[in-house]
Homo-oligomer: 380 residues x 2
C-alpha cells in the first residue's frame, strides 16, 4: 500500500502571472512574499507584488533568504508574517526561498522552535495557504512535503517532512529560468538528476513515483547539457522545468537516499551549493548502491539512452554510473569535495550526522558509519 | 500553460481499511456513506461503517444509487446528509456511487438544482470533505473533477466539471475488485481504455496527462484480458486498478472526446452500462479521429505492443484500431448498439445532445451533426 500527494500544479510559459490570482482563489487578502536577493534583483519579486495587487490583495516582502536558509531567518520571516497579520504565503525562488516560506508557515501557526518539527509528521495545526513559485528547476520544493533548514547551533540541516508542507498551488514558469546563470543551471540540474535517481531506487519507491522518476531521469539526461549551454534555449529550459517537476513528485513521495543524507550534513557546515555537493557524491553512492537494485540500475542506463540490451545488470550499472560522471564533467560541475573547500578533518562529524538524516532510511543499501566515511573519502 | 490537480491517493491491498481514519484526518465526525446495492451486498458498505466506527466517527448509509444515477437520487442523498447533520461524505462503489456522493455534496452546500452546475466551473461554495473508495477500476471518478448525473426530464446525462469535485482523498484497493463479475470487469476495463485513448488525443492533453494516459493504455491493453479471465488473478486486478488510476488522472485534467460525448447522450436515455457503450463506439471514433493526430495514433499502437517501426502513421493507426476491436471481441464486450437494445430512430435526438456535451469540445477532430449521426449509424 502506498500514498501519493501533490499540490495543484500550474506549469508553463507565463504561469507566473497567476500567482496573485492563485492566492485570491485560496481566500488570501494579505500575503507575505518570501524570496532572496537574486530573485528580487531579477525583478521577479516585484512581479509577484504586482500580480497580488492586480488580484486585489495587499502584500509584504521578505527578501532576506540566504543560500542555505537558517532557523533564525525562518523565525524572522514568521515574525514579519505575524506583525503584518498576513493570511497566506508566497515563496518565490529556489529551494531556499520556498523552504523558508514553509518553515515560517509552521512557526506562524504552530509556534515553538523548528527543532520541534524535525523528522516526519510532527506538525499538528493546519498551515495557511501556500503558493510556491519555482525559479530554478531544481529543488522540487514547490511540490514536495519537505523543508530543509539549517540549525546553526548544531551545524546541521534539519529535514522536516510533513504532508502539511505540500503547498496548495505550485507555479512553474520555464521563462523565469532564462535569468539563471550557467553555473546555477548546472548545479540545480544535477540536483534534479539526483532526485530522480535516489527516488527511483528508494526503498519507499512505488509504481506511481517510478513513473515520475523515470520521466525526470530521461528528460534531465537529455536536456541538461543544452540548458547549461544557452540561456535562450527555450525547449531545454521547459524540459528541465518538467524534469524538475517530475523529480519533485517522485522524491516527495518516495523520499531520497544517502546522497541527500550526506549533502544535508555537509550543507549544515559549509555554504556550498546543494546541487554541487550532490553532483560530487552521486556517482560514488551509485557505485555503492548498485548491487542493491541491479534491475533498476539497468533500467536507468536505458533511460539515459545507453544501449544495454546485451549487457548483464552489473555491466549496465557501470554504464549508468559512467554516464552520470560524464554529464557532470561536460557541464563543468565540481568533481571533488576538496575543490569546493571541504576539509578531510570534517569527515567524522559529517558522517555521524549524515547517518541520522531522514533520507538515509530509504537508501536501498544498508549503510554503516564506516561506509559513509569511506564514501566521503572517495569523494574528497 | 496547463494546470493539473489530483487528490491524495491511497493505493493498494488493504487500503480500504483507511477510509474511517481518512475522514477523521479531514476533521469529520458524522459521515454520510453513499453506495449502491451491489457494493452493500458484497459487504463493502458495512466495512466502511466499521472503519468509521473504529476511527471514532458516526455514520449514516445511503445505498439507493442506481447504475445511471439521477438528479433526484442526488437530491434524496443531499437531504439525508442535511437531516442527519453530516459533515463529510464517503462515496464507495463505481462511478455511479462516487458521482452521486459528489452531486449530493454540491446540493448540500450550494443548494438549488444540479442543472445550475452543469458545465465547467460553476460551483462557488466549498464542498465538505470527500473521501472516495473505488470498487470498480473503471470510472476514475475517485480522482477526477467530474460528476455525471442523469436529468430524467431532459433524458440527458449532465456533465458537471469543477476543481471542487476533486475528492480530498481517493482510496483504491485492488482486493475489492475480486468481487466484480467478469461482465462488469470487461465493461469497466474498456471504460479505462477509452479514458486513456480519449485523454491522450484530447486537444487539452499536456505532457503531464500524456504520461498518465500512456501508462493507462499500456497497462490496460496488457492486463484487461487476464483480469476478465479470473477473479483471483491478483496481479491483473492490481494492474487494472493502477491503469484506472492513471486514466483517471489523465482525463480529469485533459478531458475526453466524442466517445464520451455520445456515451453520455445515449446513457441519458438508455440504461446501458457506460463501459459497454464506450466499447462499441471507441473503434468508430478512433477511425474518425486518426487523421487529426497521426503521430499519437502510431505511439498508441506501439504502447499496445504492436511493432510499427516500419509503418507509416496511417498503417500504424490501423493497427491500433484493430487492436482495440480484437480486445473487445476477446473479452466478450458488446460490438453493436443494436444488440444492447438501441433503436435507430433515437439517432437524431442522441446526436443533437451529444454535440452539446462538454467532452465534445476536446475531441481532436472537428465534428458536425452529420458526422455524429454517421458514427452512430456505423455503430448500430
Amino acid at each position: 500500500m502506498f500514498k501519493f500527494v501533490m499540490p495543484e500544479v500550474i506549469f508553463g510559459s507565463g504561469s507566473i502571472h497567476q500567482v496573485g490570482e492563485s492566492c485570491a482563489r485560496l481566500g488570501a487578502r494579505n500575503v507575505l512574499i518570501v524570496t532572496d536577493k537574486g530573485v528580487t534583483d531579477a525583478g521577479w519579486a516585484a512581479y509577484a507584488e504586482k500580480s497580488c495587487r492586480e488580484a486585489g490583495l495587499s502584500s509584504i516582502l521578505y527578501a532576506n533568504v540566504s543560500i542555505n536558509p537558517t532557523a533564525s531567518e525562518a523565525e524572522e520571516c514568521a515574525q514579519r508574517y505575524l506583525d503584518h497579520e498576513c493570511d497566506a504565503l508566497i515563496g518565490i525562488g529556489g529551494g531556499s526561498a520556498i523552504d523558508t516560506a514553509k518553515a515560517a508557515a509552521i512557526l506562524a501557526t504552530n509556534g515553538g522552535h523548528l527543532r520541534n518539527y524535525e523528522g516526519v509528521d510532527r506538525i499538528s495545526k493546519p498551515l495557511p495557504p501556500l503558493v510556491m513559485v519555482s525559479t530554478t528547476a531544481g529543488s522540487g520544493s514547490e511540490v514536495s512535503q519537505f523543508s530543509i533548514i539549517v540549525d546553526t547551533e548544531r551545524q546541521i540541516k534539519m529535514t522536516i517532512v510533513s504532508k502539511s508542507l505540500v503547498p496548495d498551488i505550485a507555479i512553474i514558469d520555464p521563462d523565469v529560468l532564462a535569468t539563471k546563470s550557467a553555473r546555477l543551471t548546472a548545479s540545480t540540474g544535477l540536483d534534479v538528476l539526483t532526485h530522480a535517481i535516489e527516488s527511483f531506487v528508494s526503498v519507499a519507491a512505488t509504481p506511481l513515483t517510478d513513473v515520475h522518476a523515470k520521466n525526470a531521469l530521461k528528460l534531465s539526461t537529455q536536456f541538461l547539457r543544452p540548458s547549461v549551454a544557452s540561456r535562450y534555449n527555450k525547449e531545454a529550459k521547459e524540459m528541465m522545468a518538467m524534469a524538475s517537476l517530475h523529480a519533485g513528485l517522485a522524491f516527495s513521495n518516495a523520499i531520497l537516499g544517502a546522497v541527500h543524507a550526506m549533502a544535508h550534513s555537509i550543507g549544515g557546515r559549509y555554504p556550498f551549493l546543494h546541487g554541487d555537493i550532490n553532483a560530487v557524491l552521486l556517482p560514488h553512492v551509485m557505485e555503492f548502491n548498485a548491487l542493491a537494485v541491479p534491475v533498476k540500475f539497468k533500467e536507468m542506463a536505458e533511460l539515459m539512452g545507453e544501449d544495454v540490451r546485451t549487457l548483464c545488470t552489473a555491466a549496465a550499472s557501470e554504464k549508468a554510473i559512467r554516464h552520470v560522471r560524464k554529464l557532470a564533467v561536460d557541464i563543468g560541475a565540481p568533481l571533488t569535495l576538496s575543490e569546493m573547500g571541504f576539509e578531510e578533518s570534517a569527515i567524522p562529524a559529517i558522517s555521524e550526522i549524515a547517518l541520522l538524516d531522514a533520507c538515509m532510511i530509504t537508501n536501498p543499501r544498508d549503510i554503516s558509519a564506516e561506509e559513509v566515511t569511506l564514501l566521503l573519502q572517495r569523494a574528497l
